[in-house]
Amino acid sequence: MLCAAVATLCVTSVGCEGEAQKRAIEQRIGSSAEGRSLPEHEDYYGSGVADKDHAWVAGTYGTILSITDNATKVELQKSGTHYSLFSVSCADANDCVIGGERGLILRTTDGGKHWEKADGPKGLSENLLSISRGKDPNKIWAVGPEATVIHSVDGGKTWEDQSLHKDEALNGVVFLDDQNGWVQGEFGVIKHTTDGGKTWVESDKVVGLPKYVEDVTDAEAYHRGIPELSEQDLYLFGSAWSNPQNGYIVAAGGYVLETNDGGATWQAKRGGSNSLFAVAVPPGHPPVAAGLLGTVMHEGSGGWSLDESVASRVYTWLRSAAFSPDGSLGIMTGGDGAVLVSHDGGATWNALNKNLITAAGITAAKS
């Protein structure tokens, strides 16, 4: 009787129940204690579109999403890093290069099934914020803070240092062919190379800037201490060219610099006050820019205007814009899992189904 009673006591002892509860949880979470990417919540900084069925976006915590089948499928790819990834350039459906935090370079030749680290120039430690390829897709340039410029001639396997060694952040690079390229960044810096990055010349003459940083009268500026605005105050981000003569650079404060003379002069325009981070010119379509607070701007005959449809739905920043070579697929990326898709050359944008992104994360976690 005593033994039976003690046994019953043990079975009903709440300590035993508590253990069963804990064991069930242990089985579910496993023994790995590494945080994984949560793609529906990560921030996406860069995008690259090879064609309408192959696009990639990259962002925080080493997150790379492969977007395929005309943006109907999403896959989270293993990057092997937790560093932030900023810039993406894709030559075709298999060949992509990504620039990231602290000089990280990733490349794939199999469509992202495997991403490998490439060695940058010795001593490279700056973030690689923008990447561009020449006419020859094996020729690649990447830029970053401290006037970092690096160059590869073998599709990203190896890199040489072409840095300018100045205290100025370079936020964007575009190469029109294998020799002609443009970089822009902090302090209104705009530089041009005609020899594939070996040498660079300043080409930053800007006209049409307003007198003050804010839209105020002289009296207001005096009373409120608003400084005057000069070219050196501009903080330039991304750029895009429709042809060697016509290009666009976007900047903080909502400025857009346009050139019609191959960069000899830049006309400052303003479509709003929200900073613009990225600009793209889809073939056969007007340019489109993206920036803070869900700002998407289209250039029309009357200048730059806000895309109200996006502004009313998207409340996060948008940092990159990229199109397929034929303009049939456009991707914009932003904060908190925001990925926008356009199928009409940037005229309209819709959010990529977030359930696809979430599912991609879950599938990757299980594999």
Binding site: M1, L2, A5, T8, L9, V11, T12, S13, V14, G15, E17, G18, A20, Q21, K22, I25, E26, R28, I29, S31, A33, E34, G35, R36, S37, L38, H41, D43, Y45, Y61, H82, S84, F86, E101, R102, S125, N127, L129, N171, V213, E214, I226, P227, D233, L234, Y235, F237, A251, A252, G253, S275, F277, L292, L293, G294, Y315, T316, W317, R319, G335
Partner: protein, 805 residues
Amino acid sequence: MAVNVNKLPAAERITHGVARFTLRHRWSSLAVLTIITVFFAFHAVKVQMYSQFADLLPQAHPYIKAYNHFRTTFGGANIVSLSLRVKKGDIFTTDTLKKIRYVTEKVDQIDGVNHYQVASLAHVKIRRLEARSGGLIKSVPVLPEQVPTDPKELKELKKAMYNNDIVYGKYLSTDGKAALVLAGFNEERLDYGNIQHQIMLIRQHVEDNNTVLYAAGEPMLKGWVWFYTGELAEIFAVTFIFIFGTLIIYFRRLYGVLLPFVGAVAQAIWGLGFLGILGYNLDPLVLVIPLLVSARAASHGVQMVERYFEELEATGDKHHAVAIAMGELLLPGGIGVLADAAGILVLGVATIPLVRKLAFFASFWGFSNIFTILLLIPLLLDVLPTPTKTTHYVPQWMHDLLAWVGEFCTSRHGRWAVFAIAAVVVAAGAYEASSVQIGETEAGSPLLFQNSDFNISARAINRDFAGSNQLVIYMQGSKDNALKDPAVLAVLDNLRHYMMEQKQAGGTRDLPTLVRSVNRLYHYDDPVWAVIPRTEAGVGNMTFMYEANAPVPGVILEYMDYRARDGQFVVFYKDAKGTTIDEAIMRAKLFMAAHPLKDVKFILAGGTIGTTAALNDEVAYSDRVSTVLIVLVVFVLVTFSYMSFVAGGMVMITLIAAGIVSFLYIGLKGIGMNINTLPVTAVGMGIGVDYILYVVDRIKREYGRLHDHDLAIKRAIATSGMAVTFTATTLVGGVIPWVWMSDLRFSAEMAMLLALLMITHWLSAITLVPSIFAIIRPKFVERGAEASDEDVEMIEKDVEAAEMS
């Protein structure tokens, strides 16, 4: 007078000695009891009723030690969450924004608030930084001092808030329809009733057809408990009326009604007086325990009076009746009282101050039954005039039912049938009991019903925001600036991702996210600069800028101390269910083990999740230990009293059966074991053991007269079984009103649980125990049988001698 008591077991010798002494010196005994009662009454008036948050925390648990150590720097876990939500549109209207400001300012004025722990999008310390061309950076409150009226400005404000990582999703819901206001309160003595009242006043001011104010958090919960204790008076009144009425119907005589109440009141005075001497507060959450103990006192009183009337009816001799009643009931009653008291005292193994205090004062409350019931009532019966009516009212249906039960339990097949049924029920109960969870099983609080204001609010707040339940993982550095190490921040970022994998995790507050946000702002708000700086100096710049730009000091304390040595990492959860807490703690521990840092040590755990985890650990431990202790104590008491392992074993089995029934109920109702259920289930196991003891003792005594097991069993069921049935129905009926009258779900469910336990003990007393007796016919009932008449004679002679002297 010399008497020969050598034939009596030791326990009986003691109880009979006490009975003789008391009745011999009846007036002195009464005087002493009166003086002691007055003494306790003097101390009882000092007792104050209030709740203290710190009393709920197991102080010896490492999580609570950590919590206590760090809360002087980082604040505590006693936080009210308020959410102002609009039904149509969003909060970006002048009127609604002004209401958010109003709520923030008003809650900051409530007594006991920690002003440094008030935050909302309307609070001056919640800022946004704007980077402009030209290097211009402006630091402004998220909500301007002048709330905008221009629709365009309101639209811009909305955009700005949506783009602010500190605000969006944390103080502003992602759909823009709700704003969160947080207010931390001190943990020392708080007037929770006032907090609840003030917040209701705020609610009245801001609510309209389109606006709702939800309020949740630990202080609100306690405030609601306080609010509903107002109804306790009504419930007590109903309980009192029911018990009083039942006693009148049953006894139909003044003594039968009044004397048990006199005993219960005296007992309550002793209990409260002891509480006053100890200097403890009376927490309204545990009021159900003293109520139950007092009800038990009435139950013992009824047994005593019932036995008195039984003898009075047979002999017509008051003194003889008192001698019989006292002589026979002092032992089973005493064991029952000691079992009740011990069942409560074993809770003293807990390290939760509230439960320890309850263990000490409530066990004394129960123990005092020996004096206020088992001694006082016989003395009163002895000195008060003999009742003129001696006939004893016995409900016929009860008489017939118990007669049938007696026949059935002693019949050849019936005894085995009862045993088999009991075995099946216990087995099923044991199976169900194994699924009982530790901790709460539903979101919100199990103290209140799911459709209560508090739980509706908790669900709304958890739906709209990251979660009102926090887990704080503390970080202790071995040197200054340890938390500025970029490698440490990278690990914390990894931790953030790992913890956020849990489904119930809604967000975090952590140093890497802060540093990233500030770094971005100082690079023209370019999102790509939301990275951790590469150097300690770089990180230090960011934290310095954050603190330096704040209009109130101490904003950095939400993340780390001023020396960047100690810090906190906070995860927000949608609920505080036991499974949520278990997974959160498990993840934290796994991560800490896998990522040891050289200069920083992770320490668990603060926040409601951390403190509740400690509570749940304590509940699991205390329940295990107290259950074993109760069973052992009762086993030892009964075995010693009857000098029989069989007697002890039988009572122990019925005790375990009762315990299984309580777990069965808890499991089927989906109630988790937590600090609220622990004292009740522990106490409940011991409650009603005396039903069994009265029947067992009566069987023994009847055997002494009848020398036949079956007849003794039937007679015991018919007599003590009758009294047990009556007291059980009275007490169950008295407790049942709590089930539908109490707005406190905890009280309602515990009342049901207690009723079930008493029913289980009653059924065990009149069916299971008699059938076991009929099956095994234990030898201990035959021991001392011939002494039964002798001991009564001894007492009577002592009483006569006292009267003559």
